[in-house]
Assembly symmetry: C2
Homo-oligomer: 214 residues x 2
C-alpha cells in the first residue's frame, strides 16, 4: 500500500497503525506547501484534488481519503493486530472517538491554531470554543489506559493530535494532567516513539527546505 | 431510542434515517442556547457534558454521541432499510464521506459561518479555505444520484449540511449546480421533506422563544 503523508501531520496516525501491525507500506512524502511528492517530484493533487494527507492507495489501486476511513481500513486489513474492534457497541464507540478527534479536536481546535496564515481573531475564537473539548477528554481519560479497552487506531489518532501541542503554545498540556499522562505513556510505546522520531527528522528537513526556498 | 436534537441542526440527519427506515424514536428537543430539554425542562448537559446534539440513548440505555457514530448505529439497527453498506471498500467509502462531511464541510466550513458570535475575520478565513470543498463535491456529484450507489446515512448528513446554506448567504448554492440539483432532488424525498418541514416549524418556535426571552 502507498501512504501519502506529510511529516507529523495527521497521517502520522496511519504510520503508527502500520508499525503496530508490523506491516510494510510505501511512504510517499508530500510537501504541505508545494504539494510536490518528494520521492519522485510528482504533483500530489493528481492523486487527491484537495491535496490532503493522509491518502492511501490500496493494493487493489483504490485511492482512499479521510483519516477515519483510512485508519479503519488499515485496522480491517490486519485483524490480528486488534487495531479496530468487533462489531456492535464497541465499533460504535470507535466511530464516536474517531469522529470526536477528527471534528472537535483536529478540525475544531488545532487546524486554526496551527495555521500561520489564520488571523489572530480566528485563533482567539477557536480557543474560546475549543478548550472545553480538552476538559471533556481529561475527564474521560482519568483512570483509563486507552480510549477503548485496548489500543486502537483511535489512540493512534489522538496521540498524533496531542503531539501538535508542541507547536500550539496557547494550549498548555500541563493544564490537563490525565491527557498529558496518556500522551507521555503512549509516546513511549515503541511503534509511536519510532514513528514520531522518524517523522520529526523529516519535519526538520521540511522546515530547512522551506527556509532555503524563501 | 431517545434522540436528543435541536431543530435543523446536524441531528436532523438521524431523524431522516429513522424516517427512511420507517422506525419510531422518541425525539427530545434541546434548546441550543440554554441546553434545556423542551420536553421536560431538564438540563441536557447531564446527558452530554458538551451539550452537543445529536445524542442517542439506545434501547439498552447506552448514550452515544457524535453524528457519524449515531448514523452508522441507526443504519446497523435496521439493515433492511439499507442505510449503510456491506463491509469492505463500500464501508470504507461510507466512512470517507461521513468523515469528509463532518470535518471539511460541517466543522471546517459551516460551524464558523453559522455562529453569530464568530468574528468577521474568522468567517473570512473560513471562506477562503472552505469553498474549495464545495468545488470538490460539485465535481464528484456530477452525474451521480447519491454519494454511494444507493441512499445512505451519508446522504442524510450531506443534505442536512447543505440545508444550512439558507442561513449562510456568502455560500451561494447556485455556484455549484450539481450540488444544488442533488440538494433539491433529495429535499423532495418524502423522509427528508417531512423531517425538514417538521423541524422548520420547531426552528421558528425556537427563534420566537429566544426573542421573547431577550
Amino acid at each position: 500500500m502507498d501512504l501519502y503523508f506529510s511529516p507529523l501531520a495527521c497521517s502520522l496516525a496511519t504510520r503508527i497503525a502500520f508499525y503496530e501491525a508490523g506491516q510494510e507500506a510505501n511512504y510517499l512524502e508530500v510537501d504541505p506547501k508545494t504539494k510536490v511528492v518528494q520521492n519522485d517530484g510528482s504533483d500530489f493533487r493528481q492523486v487527491n484534488l484537495l491535496g490532503l494527507v493522509p491518502t492511501l492507495r490500496t493494493d487493489d489501486g483504490e485511492v482512499l481519503t479521510e483519516n477515519a476511513a483510512i485508519l479503519q481500513y488499515v485496522a480491517d486489513c490486519f485483524p490480528e493486530a486488534r487495531l479496530g474492534t468487533s462489531s456492535g457497541m464497541d465499533r460504535s464507540r470507535l466511530h464516536q472517538w474517531l469522529c470526536f478527534i477528527g471534528t472537535e479536536l483536529h478540525k475544531g481546535l488545532f487546524v486554526p491554531l496551527l495555521d500561520r496564515k489564520a488571523p489572530q481573531e480566528a485563533k482567539t475564537y477557536t480557543l474560546e470554543k475549543g478548550l472545553s473539548r480538552l476538559d471533556y477528554l481529561e475527564n474521560y481519560l482519568k483512570g483509563r489506559e486507552f480510549l477503548l479497552d485496548h489500543f486502537t487506531v483511535a489512540d493512534a489518532y489522538l496521540v498524533t493530535v496531542i503531539n501538535w501541542t508542541m507547536a500550539t503554545p496557547p494550549v498548555e498540556l500541563a493544564k490537563w494532567p490525565a491527557v498529558k499522562a496518556y500522551y507521555e505513556r503512549l509516546r513511549s510505546r515503541p511503534s509511536i516513539a519510532r514513528a514520531i522520531a522518524e517523522e520529526f527528522e523529516l519535519y526538520k528537513a521540511e522546515i530547512a527546505r522551506h527556509k532555503a526556498a524563501a
